[in-house]
Amino acid sequence: MTQEVSLRSVSLGVVGMTCNSCVQSIEQHIGSLSGVIHIKVSLEQRNATIIFDSNRQSPESLSEAIEDMGFDSSLSESIP
């Protein structure tokens, strides 16, 4: 059985990270959510680029997940 997967990529602004351990905890936590295929967090650019299955996550739900972790997150741009 094949499952419909529709991939999307989004870049979210993340404010409040100051070191690599912040970066790593976001990558691990968000990367383990269902529907998240790949995540790259940049400390210098203060953003997170996430490739995800749009059937299971949305830019809003991902931004909320980052906010739950205690960082300010904003939807900056999304590449369809």
Binding site: G16, M17, T18, C19, S21, C22, S25, I26, Q28, H29, D68, M69, G70, F71, D72
Partner: protein, 68 residues
Amino acid sequence: MTKYEFQVEMTCEGCSGAISRILSKQEGVKFEIDLPKKLVWIESDKDSDFLLEVLKKSGKKVTYNGTK
């Protein structure tokens, strides 16, 4: 109010800032953070399991040390 002590794997101000933002969103919670000792003290009427779940949202390793 009960005072609980938690050990949280915080390595920088970004980590402790994240913890304090999470706790500020909770009502009826007073807290103090000691970054060098990696300790968080929380004064609240809520039970320790609830507070543990709140702290775990940060994605960091959290252990409950008991009441103070």
